[in-house]
Symmetry: C2
Subunit: 356 residues, 2 copies
């Protein structure tokens, strides 16, 4: 049966970058991928059209899809919305939660052709290849109770950081399995010396470890992990952590490469249905100018083919095509430097297509 | 009246580094500082001697002191203690909470003599001088309810991230005042697009801003802040944030300098009583070998003189002495590189004393 792919361009540069990724998806269909593409609105675009960052029709299409390609959401236009539930971010969080996309894979990979772009010294980051596995549907992002209320004559804000054993176990298994397929090292990040919820996290990781005897499990406090990412990032292979710490550490790790315009991500549920999106945001300041880098979105398509569509060969072909284009010296503005050839968003997409 | 200084050597390298700082404190007394020194046990040392990481006698002495100099706490010896309340960290957290030391100042300063030590490219970090103001007695570190309990047939861990307006306001004022004395830029870090508690945080910061018209206030999400610290750290002057985000970001910022053996910190309450400690930990692996860098602890004494003892001139003298010793090319193991002269912990202390 034909697979269903839902494309959600979103806001800012979202429409431009997903357009390039769709070119590649169409090339994959010509190369044998049996898939149908559909498009829908999300984020600020959803709010503007239907008053809701996650319109019902979009959610229904998302549930029916095998895989979702998301551009990016958000922008200053919607940042002043008093009602938080109408903000573009809620579209994203709603998709994650409703589709139960608990397993977020965020690779931080340094492309040798782009080593210059890093703010770190070459020997510290050359060959960097970290996979951050972030829990995405629990923790403090979704914990109850939450809110702002009056207590003793003043307002108090509160959120709840909560994990059940079963939630920790399922993300733990994703991470252990990922480590088995990679360098066989897993570092679990917590703050078990202060937070009870992460004591339980550590305990569950330790309990799973004997089932994955080929994986070396270690534990690190989150403050130290932030430090070690700066000091010696190549010590890491797979990192597993909760929603909030994962948000922070995956962005720091991505920035180590200096080229977050290159980094894709996947968010998966238990039946490998997935949402795929670039690590970078909607960059409203450069939207519509052909300056955006479509490669993270194109590489997100590769992850989609690998994890949700069972097409690893096509995934490899996309990744190799991106490598070739970099070898040719083509660069969008964010990764251009003297001696390379600066191209627009669509020129970059076309170049990948030609190299595919 | 004579000031009271309590010295808490703690664990690991704590006793070695505080010993060197005490040499400098004694030199300050000879130079006119009217102060008495006392010593007490805390952390693992407190647990070993009295079964408590914060013995009652230590807490009483701490309350009576004008300023506290802490070495470091913790080590593998106590990491397996089942009862979290007996762990060395609880000694530290107990001191912070009982003395109401809500204002944690963590400078990330790159010494020009040590620019080499950073893993970042020189142009990215040269001249780096950030002050992180971290709230230290609230937030998720101390929020109730907390614990691990059975729910629906499985265990669940939970902690509460909570701030009252008054708590946010008082740390906000510390940060605005700090910015007034420095580069007049304050960046408040939150996750206001997801967490209600930090929406309130942002609101209170905005409400304070008009009282400090000379300070330019900005806001940044914590994931972006982690990224910007790696990408372009010199954009920051003063950063203010909650307990947990401050723990993570201050360690990342410290590591940007490459020499966290150099970084002091201060934790202050409303009446400027303070606890002073190096940013680095107890480094049990190198304890007792004369390898530890005492400069962060010596520079913590300078902060103590400035913030709690009203002796800015002596503080300046210590900081200048440290600068001179670095100029002389003296280095402990952690910051030594070819062309410098490696010295032991006590040799370094003696050199600062000679330059004082
Ligand atoms: C936009 C925001 C809600 C989101 C998050 O915090 O998860 C983003 O930062 C991310 O990491 O995907
Ligand atoms: C030891 C630990 C409890 C402490 C903290 O998390 O505050 C430490 O990391 C620090 O930053 O001072």
């Amino acid at each position: 049966m034909s697979k269903k792919i839902l494309v959600l361009p979103g806001d800012g540069i979202g429409p431009e970058i997903t357009a390039e990724a769709v070119k590649i998806l169409n090339a994959c269909r010509e190369a044998g991928l049996d898939a149908e593409l559909e498009e829908a609105l999300v984020g600020g675009a959803g709010f503007d059209a239907e008053g809701d960052p996650l319109p019902e029709s979009t959610l229904a299409k998302a549930k029916a899809a095998d895989a979702i390609l998301l551009g990016a959401v958000g922008g200053p236009k919607w940042d002043t919305l008093e009602d938080l539930s109408k903000r573009p971010e809620k579209g994203l969080l709603g998709l994650r939660k409703n589709l139960n996309l608990f397993g977020n894979l965020r690779p931080a990979l340094l492309y040798p052709q782009l080593a210059e772009a890093s703010t770190l010294k070459p020997d510290v980051v050359s060959g960097l290849d970290i996979m951050i596995v972030r829990e995405l549907t629990g923790g403090i992002y979704f914990g109850q109770p939450r809110g702002i209320e009056e207590r003793n004559g003043e307002r108090v804000g509160f959120n709840t950081y909560v994990y059940a054993e079963s939630e920790i176990e399922r993300i733990g298994r994703v991470a252990f399995e990922m480590a088995q397929k990679r360098g066989k090292k897993l570092c679990s990040v917590d703050k078990a010396n202060v937070l009870e919820v992460t004591m339980l996290w550590r305990e569950v990781m330790n309990r799973l470890a004997p089932e994955y005897p080929d994986v070396e499990l270690s534990h690190m406090y989150v403050d130290n992990a932030a430090m070690q990412l700066v000091r010696a990032p190549k010590q890491f292979d797979v990192v597993v952590t909760g929603n909030m710490f994962g948000d922070i550490l995956s962005d720091a790790a991505a920035m180590l490469t200096g080229s977050i315009g290159m980094l894709p991500s996947a968010s998966l549920n238990e039946r490998q249905q997935g949402m795929y999106e670039p690590c970078h945001g909607s960059a409203p300041d450069i939207a519509g100018q052909g300056l955006a880098n479509p490669l993270a979105t194109i590489l997100s398509v590769a992850m989609m083919l690998r994890y949700s569509l069972g097409e690893p060969t096509l995934a490899d072909r996309i990744e190799r095509a991106v490598g070739k284009v970099l070898d040719q010296g083509l660069r969008t503005a964010d990764i251009a430097y003297p001696g390379t050839r600066q191209v627009s968003t669509s020129e970059m997409g076309d170049a990948v297509l030609a190299a595919f």
